[in-house]
Amino acid sequence: MSVIQNAINLTGSPGQTPASPVIGLEGLTVTYGSGANAVRAVEGLDLEIRDGEFFAILGPSGCGKSTLLKVVSGLLAASEGAVHVDGRRVEGPQAEVGLVFQAPTLLPWMTIRQNVMLPGKILKMDPADTARRADEILDLVGLGKFADSYPSQLSGGMAQRAGIARGLVQDARVMLMDEPFGALDAMTRERMNMDLLDIWARSHKTIVFITHSIGEAILMADRVALMCPRPGRVVEVVDIDLPRPRTPEMMSTPEFGHYTRHFRDYFKKLGEL
């Protein structure tokens, strides 16, 4: 516990109301290409994500989930509409928003420690401080012994944990995660889910988590946004009233089944199931 508090600066004071929006999207429209070939990836999307919440975005492939994250992270400009993070309009990548990719995207020419320290280097944080925090976070994600290994020496699950550790070192207030466990086997995935919830509970970050797994979305999130494809829109935002801490055993409770049915019915209507 104390390790975490050292490793991750707690953002947001305890007295703060949890309901203040940290991410605001208004009428977001993203168009790829132009003229007759133009494709609307996202159209007229409104969304508010609260400070400190675990927010899942659930939708079939091609519904613009990844586009949405790219816009919030500042990698992609909105064609129309407004994007705010922390009350400021997003005009490009910023230190307060961290991104964890679908693939671990580690740089093979750097050791795991160097990879994890990369945000500190680029954001010009104090090197000694970054190194200390990198080691603490690597311990936290169970990679302490592999700090001096190269990415090619790690398994898929370990590499993904290193990617998440790198996101944590950036110490951004908001972590955007684009199907971070999509490529993992079911058992590793379940363990990673629990680890991530643990990290989130202790770090008080806002996490926006993209997934196309219904179970994963319900298990992890405070709220789940359902998206529909072509063009991508948010159809519904569902509050998940399951107690915390969440455990995989909850997946067999009637409440969990109720949420699962709700989302499955929707996907059936879409013709995705």
Partner: protein, 277 residues
């Protein structure tokens, strides 16, 4: 069918290890090479081929030994290698710098690329006589020829390498608010390193060709001159001895570049390693 299942369920340690005699990999090619030399020697002696047409290996050896005892080779090897080293360094560096400008600056690419394509499809070696006229007889024209020979392969591969960088890795740095320079330093340049080294290996051979031809057309020192002298004096064994020296220099230089390649771009060797670790 039952047989099949039985073999599959045999515990691993009980299976007989595949037996084979482990000769080092180089033995067979070496034996073949020595055999070839012997065949050559015997064929020439039996066929009574005059040594000014095709010398026997023993003639080449004798010529080489005679010249070595006279101290003929070192100054000429040095004259050739000096221009090779300087021209190679300049060509590789120039190729990397120009390649970077091409890959990173759109305007530069649009303006200069057609010219480069035109130059690239022309045999650079044809310019050697011009360089002798411009830069004079000897060292400078040689270095310029070698530089030009090395420049193009490195330039082309630098552009390819920089453009082949994984877009996700670039996004990664950008999402961390990284600058273009940081994207270049942390992602693009390491991604291009292997391409650049591959071109540097090609450039070693190009450099030797450049130096030789430049010596043919305008120099009084170097291994190219020894070949020309051999031609004038009908000293075929002497020419062959120089050819042996040249291929040794080529093999040696390529081996050095390959070694440095492996040391610098260590992560690709790691990734290429057979799986199972």
């Amino acid at each position: 069918m039952s047989d099949h299942i039985q073999t599959r369920t045999t515990p691993l340690e009980q299976q007989p290890a595949p037996r084979s005699f482990h000769l080092p990999q180089w033995v067979l090619p070496a034996v073949f090479f020595v055999g070839l030399i012997i065949l050559w020697e015997v064929g020439i002696k039996w066929g009574e081929v005059p040594s000014y047409i095709v010398p026997a290996p023993s003639d080449i050896w004798n010529a080489a030994m005679r010249n070595i005892s006279r101290g003929l080779y070192p100054p000429h090897i040095w004259a050739t290698m000096q221009s090779v080293l300087i021209g190679y360094g300049a060509g590789v560096l120039g190729g990397i710098v120009l390649g970077t400008l091409f890959a990173e600056i759109r305007l530069f690419e649009r303006l200069v690329f057609p010219l480069i394509v035109a130059l690239q499809s022309m045999p650079k070696i044809a310019l050697a006589p011009l360089f002798v006229m411009w830069f004079g007889y000897g060292f400078t024209s040689k270095v310029v020829t070698v530089t030009l020979m090395c420049l193009f392969p490195v330039l082309v591969n630098t552009v390819t390498g920089l453009k082949s960088a994984d877009p996700d890795r670039i996004s990664l740095i950008r999402a961390m608010t990284g600058s273009r320079l940081q994207v270049f330093r942390y992602v693009k340049l390491p991604s291009a390193a292997s391409h650049i080294f591959a071109a540097m290996q090609v450039a070693v051979v190009m450099a030797l060709i450049g130096a030789l031809v430049a010596e043919f057309v305008g120099s009084d020192r170097g291994l190219g001159i020894l070949i020309q002298n051999g031609q004038l004096n009908l000293d075929t064994p002497g020419i062959f001895a120089v050819l042996v020296i040249l291929s040794a220099l080529g093999i040696g230089s390529t081996a050095i570049v390959r070694y440095v390649h492996g040391k610098v771009v260590f992560w690709e060797r790691r990734a290429d390693r057979p799986s199972g670790e």
